[in-house]
């Protein structure tokens, strides 16, 4: 399978930008102790690492422990031990020299974060310390997401809301909620704000519709199996304009899995990296729930702009 993904800008098919923070390209450097040993002593130093420094295994997993080198026409191993904050040089010498012959201890800057691409991996490896390349976790996540991303279906849903918006009686703002399991549109709403209620944003209207439909259904045919109260669990939401903080958070409370929007709302939006106050609400309470968000950056599907100060 060919992946049409721009990994630097997180863009699928050249038209859908996944909204997520940029991965860091700077190494997070921390001083570590490195000891020189002769190759035949490697079992001894391995034992010392197992007994004395086993807590470092997790944080140094991405790094090589032993690095071959040469000095005075002899082969040597440089062995990465632990952070310099963990132990003083004197204490370290007491642990090492006894089982091992006395030798050089150096202080080396080690990157604690993983580089996100292979070139950077090569760069950091030669500059700081050899890093094991096991593929980029972010690339793997993007690939997995891409496999579940049905461009044709998504574009059709975007056309649906675009057409609805163009025939709107007032604000051209539209949202639909889709159950991806059945591919059914479960709610479809315009923005209905007016003098009687200024807060009837289209996303809130959809959530209200789904709740009242289900409440009616349960009254007519009571279900003894106690179904979930998260009615929008894992739903996909398509909306014409990037939502405000209230609506973005309402989607999080409703536990949707994906949001796709057409126009960005630079001033009032709560999803985009640079929108509003930069909260990126879809990722903000990620311990509890998060949803992925895509902004449509293609040109085929369009929707009228609304005033930049309007909360969507």
């Amino acid at each position: 399978m060919d992946y049409d993904i721009d990994y630097e800008r997180f863009v699928f098919h050249g038209e859908f930008q996944r909204v997520q923070p940029q991965t860091s390209v700077e190494p997070l450097l921390v001083d570590h102790w490195v000891v020189w040993v002769l190759p035949k002593q490697s079992p001894v130093v391995n034992n010392i690492i197992k007994n004395e420094f086993k807590d470092t295994a997790a944080s140094l997993r991405h790094l090589k422990r032993f690095v071959k080198t040469q000095s005075e026409e002899k082969d040597w191993l440089r062995v990465l031990l632990c952070s310099c904050e963990l132990i003083s040089k004197t204490d370290l010498e007491n642990i090492l020299f006894g089982p091992l012959e006395k030798n050089t201890i150096e202080r080396v800057k080690i990157p604690l974060n993983k580089p996100f691409d292979k070139d950077l991996n090569t760069q950091w490896s030669s500059k700081y310390w050899p890093i094991v390349w096991k593929g980029n976790p972010m690339i793997q996540e993007l690939n997995e997401t891409y496999k579940r991303f049905d461009k044709t279906k998504i574009t059709n849903y975007l056309r649906t809301i675009s057409n609805m918006a163009k025939t709107a009686e007032s604000l051209p703002i539209v949202t639909i909620f889709v159950d991806p399991e059945t591919d059914r549109i479960m709610a479809s709403q315009y923005d209905k704000r007016g003098p009687a209620d200024k807060m009837k944003h289209s996303i809130m209207n959809c959530i209200d519709q789904i709740a009242s439909d289900e409440l009616k259904r349960r009254k007519q045919e009571p279900d003894p199996s106690k179904p979930t109260n998260y009615l929008c669990l894992n739903y996909h939401v398509y909306t014409t304009h990037e939502p405000c903080t209230m609506c973005a958070m309402a989607l999080l409370h409703s536990r949707i899995s994906r949001l796709v929007y057409l126009n960005e709302s630079k001033k009032t939006g709560a999803i985009g990296i640079e929108s509003g106050n930069g909260h990126m609400i879809h990722l903000s309470c990620s311990l509890n729930w998060k949803y992925e968000s895509f902004r449509y950056i293609g040109t085929d599907v369009t929707v009228p702009e609304v005033g930049e100060n309007i909360n969507i």
Partner: protein, 225 residues
């Protein structure tokens, strides 16, 4: 406003929250106060309505619209919300768009709080007027009420039958980091300069029955011991 009336109205919010327990809703309650009168009382109704957005604040907003169909916007601009738990990010944004005057809350909302715990939506750089949010009025009581609810619900769930019942924890409470919600000068202008140590040490505000803050300074406490 004299702080004792804040205390009085928060007590009313607690009465509303307690009624939520009877219908098995998460016990968060609020009252809205306009010109010294309670104009709305509501509790969280997410289970009854099957709608995860029906927090107490939204219910109260609906009541005010029904009561003042043509002037609710002007009314809300001069209204104070008393709510037992810090408004979540969604409600904080609702209140901000409605340009509410002031919010007073009980305990912080550590997972979703929108008045400082996660984000301070009330102070965001936005077009709508910002609002001040005052934390920690009857904080311990708000936490106790939530704990009571979860204990009750867990004891009813089939999974817990046969398990040893957990006891209601009554002594341990997470401290309130006031600086997340207010600056020290804001705090001192609300409660008085002499209570700055409450802010500095993240202590719980203590009130007498009239709603006067009665925290004793640390040095005084040492003398009386």
């Amino acid at each position: 406003m004299d702080f004792s009336s804040h205390y009085k109205f928060m007590k009313e919010a607690f009465k509303v929250a307690e009624t939520a327990l009877a219908v098995r809703e998460v016990p968060v309650g609020c009252v809205m106060v306009y010109e010294d009168q309670i104009i709305a009382k509501a509790f969280n109704q997410t289970n009854l309505t099957l709608n995860g957005t029906k927090h107490a604040e939204f219910e109260a907003y609906d009541q005010i619209r029904a009561k003042y169909p043509t002037s609710y916007e002007q009314v809300l601009r001069k209204t104070t919300l008393y709510v037992t738990v810090e408004p979540c990010i969604m409600c904080a944004s609702l209140l901000r768009q409605l340009e509410i005057q002031t919010v007073v809350f009980g305990c912080p909302n550590e997972r979703f709080g929108g008045n400082g715990s996660i984000f301070a939506i009330n102070k965001d750089d936005l077009l709508n007027r910002p609002y001040q949010s005052i934390p920690g009025v009857l904080s311990k009581q708000a936490v106790m009420l939530l704990r009571k609810f979860y204990l009750l619900e867990n004891s009813k769930s089939p999974a817990s039958i046969g398990k040893k019942n957990r006891r209601l924890e009554q002594n341990e409470f997470p401290p309130i980091e006031y600086r997340k919600y207010l600056t020290k000068s804001e705090f001192e202008s609300l409660f008085g300069k002499k209570f700055g140590f409450v802010y500095d040490n993240n202590l719980f505000l203590e009130f007498d029955d009239d709603g006067t803050v009665v925290n004793e300074t640390p040095s005084k406490k040492l003398k009386t011991r």
